[in-house]
Amino acid sequence: MRGDQINLQNIVARSASNAPSPQIRDGGVEEVTKLIDVSRCIGCKACQVACSEWNDLRDEVGECVGVYDNPLDLTPNTWEVMRFNEYEDEQGNLEWLIRKDNCMHCEEPGCLEACPAPGAIVKYANGIVDFNSEHCIGCGYCVAGCPFDIPRISEKDEKAYKCTLCSDRVFHGLEPACVKSCPTGSIMFGTREDMHELAAARTDFLKGRGYEKAGIYDPAGVGGTHVIYVLQHADKPEIYGNLPEDPRISPMVDAWKGVTKPLMSAAVGLAALTGFFHYAIKGPKEEPEDDPDERTATAAVRTDEESASPDSQEGDRP
């Protein structure tokens, strides 16, 4: 990992733009990863506080609804929350599973895919997916594009917000604020390679302590993530505050891309938008082709029988 890794030369993807980024000075940039070992988490929320303090965020003083979780969910002013889960296994053994929920920094970020505002979402060579609020138009498509339900649109400025993996700190050679604060070493940070090694070691440790199903959560459906979990029960991600078992970018995103990419004028845009939402109301029935550039506005989809259920598990998250 080198300090000077997020610079303008090192943007590998930006929303709604095919303009290639300068690539010459990418020597030495390594992908970074944040490892969250749920088995070491005590749910103290130091990471939540450190995140808000570093990012100058102060949410509303909320209320208690009968759980330890607070704030209850992500908001434009709360970029990470702890999700507390009381889990009893078949033998009646109680576990208190506490998962830090925040942006996963997907290798194939659905938010970026979905975003229609050029440059509002970028992905750096080190893997961080960052929102550039200057260019955000507040459309909310990143919300729909995210398989983890992370971005939130502010009512104050109609812009989307989420965890930046402290790109400002990482750019200066520091670890993210949540990582630094973590009292128990549940949150670790380093190169993708080092974190995977560490995650494997911690998984082995857990297996040695009787957690036979311990494992790493690094979902392939989004190309892997730059935030990975070590779970005691990797076979049941849903018990960790409904962590999706197999997250994927919504087909809506690709459909949307297919619709909008070729738009060159306002008139066509309006017509297409109308058509798009007509399509959307009917529900997605077809999957776009792999290469969106070859698609046209009107006939870009083909049937996919698996995509029908609108009530899949992601929608049930609190």
């Binding site: 088995s39 070491r40 988490c41 005590i42 749910g43 103290c44 929320k45 130091a46 939540q48 506080v49 808000s52 303090e53 102060r58 949410d59 509303e60 003083v61 909320g62 209320e63 208690c64 609804v65 009968g66 759980v67 330890y68 607070n70 704030p71 709360t78 009381e86 009893e88 109680l94 576990e95 208190w96 599973l97 506490i98 009292p183 128990t184 070493g185 440790f205 302590r209």
Partner: protein, 808 residues
């Protein structure tokens, strides 16, 4: 802590009991996690609730609040009866072999000498049998029926597995599992550390719970060892320092004590505190008491303190009561016996039991002075905050002053952490507005008083007129000046017994070994001597190197005493001076002196062959399984029920009403009528802190208010079902003294217990939230708690009392 935070990582077993270490000390808890990963250590928690510590524990067990002595006493019996103790350690390093007086006894729940009228003991019989030379008799075979070992064995034979199960409400298999895990550390290569906090202290039997833990550790050979010890995870950032500096009613700096009224003779006062060895040649370091005392008097009264006036002995106040603790003081305040009260960074309205009584007491003051960085509940006890503070200001005639102070970020100075490290810090910015450091406020008040006594005369002005004031700017005493003063300096050249110069006149003392009782040294706190020497401020040192790789960073800050990090560390080596095992090596004898990773807690050149005991502060040189007369309610910990018990009787001593509750507890007659019975208030309540908050301060800190915004109480699913309460419902928790309303957190983490044939539900009540700050306003938790305290520390019983939960 006998050990220190980082040393926890050297443990093989961590028993978190009487505290919720992950919740209250998350960063210190890091070293528990490190022990798990480095040593494959196991973490066991015993708590009324499944806590945040439980979330990462290897084994958790539920226990009824206030029954820890039963659990630990049963453990002691288990260790002895299954012969799982560290024999060589117990024989050489504890008082197990010493023989107790024949007239000592224990009957029907009480030790010999109880005086029911006063609730005190005549402790004469609680002593060893002394031979003609004045030393304790002993039987190294441990077979004598009156040796400490056999008496202890007999005492705890009553603490059977059945008894533990029925009193604690802990399932049998969990008790056995934990006892077995603990017993594994009886071998020299394995150590257990015990981490506790207010979950043990805030009981009417709190001190004895901790003693029971110390006894367990002595039997296992875990004291003085790396990864061992009995570790108090203390509360406030400098609660250790203020205790060390003796800011308690009956103490002086360095654990010295004020005289009782009847101690009129200076020599007798000193001799009583000069503890001579009870075994031949032992160090018994308190025999130097007079050096510490005279040096303190020189620090405070300078030239006015002379041998002729017994070093100003009569200038110190003497006690007409054993001590004037806060319960005693508020009892007197309630009776109108106190006119003025000062709260320096203290919020008694929120912190002391039975809030209604505290409000009535403060209302009887003539004046109240609150010095604080924040607007506290206490400073506005007279103000109406609706249901949360329903007072009528017109009826309260107390004149209240609010003096704004700086906070830590705005001043230089040292604070002492739980591990006894004195760490120096620096100011980063000026305080808001006109806020002033506390030392300037104290100086301002003192100078005004001194001026008035000088001009007007008045009651006994001598100590006020002669108090030393070494500070270059008298109105602004500097932290560095004060630190140099408590370290101490030589007033004349100081020599050792061989006439070698130790320290020149005017020089800072190198350590407390240089103190003298002839008036040639000045020292404000003997145990802090060595913190600011001729080499400068030792507390500001920042070398974090760990040369032995066991977490011993002797170059970081400075620890009392003499920079020692693990107390009693002579016990880390066998009697012959070699470490018990290589992995647990700490200090050892190298043929000529003691060396190793820590500063030896032992005379550096005393060879193992001399056979001195490792517990150099004790008169026996040994760990005291038998407390002699040092505890109020007995030399062995005995279980007594909380003053409000959900079963209403003591299963251990069911037939003696005097032995139901701690017979020597701090309790006033007028408060007994405010104690409830389980018939009316059936639920066993306990109070505690949450990791998101620090007492009542962080309700003023927006980020923390966001993280836990509103008062809640925790009840188990069993009680919730019984009362028809759902998660998130509002409930009222009522005790005989008041009520609080809060949101119900319904949880599987509180289990219904079966205790002595009864079903007992426990209720958890965080103590945070009040009527000031940015979090949601709430009733103070101490609306509920009983006005009764521990027999030794007088610490209120915040952890065990009775309530009734009602759905709103």
């Amino acid at each position: 802590m006998t050990n220190h935070w980082v040393d926890i990582r050297n443990a093989n077993l961590i028993l978190s009991m009487g505290g919720n270490s992950a919740e209250a000390h998350p960063v210190g808890f890091r070293w528990v996690m490190e022990a798990k990963y480095r040593n494959n250590a196991k973490l066991v928690t015993v708590d009324p609730r499944f806590t945040r510590t439980g979330a990462v524990a290897d084994f958790t067990a539920e226990i009824r609040t206030g029954t820890d002595i039963i659990f630990l006493g049963g453990l002691i019996s288990h260790l002895i009866e299954t012969d799982q103790i560290q024999h060589e350690y117990v024989r050489n390093y504890t008082d197990a072999a010493l023989i107790v007086r024949e007239d000592f006894g224990f009957h029907d729940g009480l030790f010999t000498g109880f005086e029911p009228v006063t609730g005190t003991y005549d402790k004469d019989t609680w002593h060893y049998e002394i031979n003609d030379e004045g030393f304790a008799r002993r039987d190294d075979t441990l077979q004598h029926p009156r040796c400490v070992y056999q008496l202890m064995r007999k005492h705890y034979s009553r603490y059977t597995l059945d008894m533990v199960e029925t009193v604690c409400g802990m399932p049998r298999h969990k008790i056995q599992r934990i006892w077995d895990m603990v017993a594994e550390t009886a071998v020299p290569g394995q150590t257990m550390t015990i981490l506790y906090a207010l979950g043990w202290t805030q009981h009417s039997i709190g001190s004895q719970i901790i003693r029971a833990a110390a006894m367990v550790q002595l039997l296992l050979g875990n004291m003085g060892m790396v990864g061992g010890g009995v570790n108090a995870l203390r509360g406030h950032s400098n609660i250790q320092g203020l205790t060390d500096l003796g800011l308690l009613s009956n103490l002086l700096p360095g654990y010295m004590s004020l005289a009782q009224a009847e101690e009129q003779d200076y020599r007798e006062y000193i001799e009583k505190r000069t503890r001579e060895p009870l075994l031949p040649d032992e160090v018994s370091y308190w025999r130097h008491y007079e050096r510490f005392h005279v040096s303190l008097m020189k620090a405070w009264f300078g030239d006015a303190a002379t041998e002729a006036n017994n070093w100003c002995y009569d200038w110190l106040p003497k006690l007409s009561e054993p001590l004037y603790d806060v319960l005693h003081t508020f009892h007197r305040m309630h009776n109108g016996e106190i006119n003025g009260y000062f709260c320096q960074g203290f919020n008694p309205l929120a912190s002391f039991p039975h809030k209604a009584k505290i409000t009535e007491s403060l209302s009887k003051l003539k004046y109240l002075v609150v010095m604080d960085p924040l607007a506290t509940e206490t400073s506005e006890f007279w103000k109406n905050y609706g249901e949360y503070n329903p007072v009528n200001p017109e009826e309260i005639q107390t004149e209240v002053f609010s003096l704004p102070t700086t906070c830590f970020a705005e001043e230089d100075g040292a604070i002492v952490n739980s591990a006894r490290w004195l760490q120096w810090h620096w100011a980063a910015a000026p305080p808001p507005g006109e806020a002033r450091p506390d030392v300037e406020i104290m100086a301002g008040l003192f100078h005004r008083l001194q001026y008035m006594y000088r001009e007007e005369g008045g009651a006994f002005p001598d100590p006020i007129l002669n108090l030393t004031w070494y500070y270059r700017q008298p109105a602004f005493p500097g932290p560095s000046e004060l630190a140099r003063e408590y370290n101490g300096w030589a007033l004349r050249d100081v020599y050792d017994e061989n006439r070698n110069l130790v320290c020149r006149a005017g020089e800072q003392l190198p350590d407390f070994g240089a103190l003298r009782d002839d008036g040639s040294t000045s020292c404000g706190c003997w145990i802090f001597s060595g913190s600011w020497t001729e080499e400068g401020n030792q507390m500001a040192r920042r070398d974090n190197s760990d040369p032995y790789g066991i977490g011993m960073t002797l170059g970081w800050a400075w620890a009392w005493p003499v920079n020692r990090r693990i107390l009693y560390n002579r016990a880390s080596a066998r009697p012959d001076g070699t470490p018990w095992t290589r992995e647990k090596a700490l200090i050892w004898w190298n043929g000529t002196r003691w060396v190793g990773a820590d500063i030896p807690d032992f005379p550096k050149q005393s060879p193992p062959s001399a056979g001195l005991g490792p517990f150099i502060m004790n008169q026996t040189g040994r760990g005291q399984l038998f407390a002699r007369d040092r505890m109020a309610e007995g030399p062995f910990p005995e279980h007594y029920e909380p003053f409000e018990s959900p079963i209403g009787m003591n299963p251990l001593n069911p037939d003696n009403p005097l032995a139901k509750n701690n017979p020597a507890a701090r309790v006033f007659e007028e408060d007994r009528e405010n104690f409830a019975t389980f018939e009316e208030f059936p639920h066993a309540a306990t109070t505690y802190r949450l990791t998101e908050h620090f007492h009542f301060w962080t309700t003023h800190a927006l980020l923390n208010a966001i993280m836990q915004p509103e008062k809640f109480v925790e009840i188990g699913t069993g009680l919730a079902e019984e009362l028809g309460i759902e998660r998130g419902d509002r409930v009222r928790v009522v005790s005989k003294r008041g009520h609080v309303d809060a949101v119900a957190v319904v949880t599987k983490r509180i289990r219904t217990l079966q205790v002595a044939g009864k079903t007992v539900h426990q209720v958890g009540i965080p103590l945070h939230w009040g009527f000031k700050g940015v979090a949601k306003k709430a009733h103070l938790t101490n609306e509920l708690t009983p006005f009764v305290g521990d027999a030794n520390t007088q610490t209120p019983e915040f952890k065990s009392f009775l309530v009734r939960v009602e759905k709103l």
